[in-house]
């Protein structure tokens, strides 16, 4: 596929692909931040989590689609490099957990008929979600520095 060869071999292929990856990351993690800050009752207390989640969902899924697609195109050019990388393995594992947690836990909290919950549980869920998503980012950056 010419696009994969362009990303791998041309001078500006990789910077462009990674820039697209970063634009997707910016949008995806901004929605994650807003929703978790609201869930933890630290910010945006005037708005319901349900309303925020509803408004941000298309952008969250769009950002996720952009990072997954650009990431796959970067990966497929030199799969052996990434498969041998420890940070890449951590990144994929935490990405899987972060998506699972987002779908399983956060979605339930954002339901319109969500039962009142204790502050402690909200804080823990928000902290776990933020830790998982930002570990994905840090592990991604570590690919360049750690074998």
């Amino acid at each position: 596929m010419p696009l994969i060869v362009f990303i791998r071999d041309s001078q500006y292929g990789m910077p462009i692909a990674q820039s697209v990856h970063l634009v997707g990351l910016t949008i995806l993690l901004a929605t994650v931040l807003v929703l978790n800050l609201r869930l933890a009752d630290v910010a945006l207390k005037d708005s319901s989590l349900h309303w925020l989640a509803q408004q941000l969902r298309p952008w969250m899924l769009g950002g996720l689609a952009v990072v997954l697609l650009s990431g796959a195109l970067i990966f497929i050019g030199t799969p052996e490099k990434y498969l041998a990388s420890n940070p890449f393995r951590v990144k994929m594992a935490t990405l899987f957990l972060a998506m699972l947690f987002q779908y399983g836990a956060l979605r339930r909290f954002a339901a319109p008929d969500s039962a009142p919950r204790s502050r402690a549980i909200s804080l823990i869920v928000a902290a776990v979600s933020l830790t998982l998503w930002f570990t994905v980012g840090w592990a991604g950056r570590a690919i360049a520095f750690i074998p």
Partner: protein
């Protein structure tokens, strides 16, 4: 001392070489600079998308927006500190780099754009009905979105050339 000489000098200060040669400090600064994107640029992106009627539409949107902008200041503080330290390490090489220069010009454009918005449109925001953003404010939003993408592209690309 010319600006070019000053950038050369900056790269050779003991602090600059210490950061550049540190096994953990440089990656930590670079990672923080990138992962502060959602809290800084991300919040601005959603402000722009809101102005264009593409998200966070409704009666509660105005308070959400002002609060998101307040949070973005923490993100931008991280950006300027980490970005300043990263620049120190590469100042001499960054000076003549076209992507670094473009990034700085883009940031200047974004600063002016934000200042114009702040003075001309921000005070009138509560008077707009939902979905009736004036054309000038929409222009500011589109400009901001495009140029912020340019900043990310230039920032990522210049790092490949050092």
């Amino acid at each position: 001392m010319s600006l070019a000489e000053w950038f050369q000098w900056l790269e050779q200060t003991p602090a600059s070489t210490a950061i550049a040669e540190s096994i953990w400090l440089f990656p930590l600064l670079e990672g923080s600079h990138i992962l502060a994107l959602p809290l800084s640029v991300g919040m601005i992106v959603f402000f722009d998308l809101h102005l264009l009627g593409l998200t966070l539409v409704g009666s509660r949107a105005a308070t959400v927006m002002s609060e998101m902008l307040r949070w973005s200041k923490i993100g931008f503080a991280v950006m300027f500190v980490t970005g300043g330290l990263l620049l120190m390490c590469h100042a001499g090489r960054a000076y003549g780099n076209p992507f670094f220069r473009a990034k700085m010009i883009f940031l200047l454009v974004l600063g002016l754009n934000a200042a114009v918005y702040q003075v001309v449109f921000f005070p009138k925001m509560p008077q707009w009905a939902a979905g009736s953003t004036p054309a000038g404010a929409r222009f500011c939003a589109v400009l901001s979105l495009i140029v912020w993408i340019g900043v990310i592209v230039c920032g990522r690309t210049m790092a490949y050339q050092f």
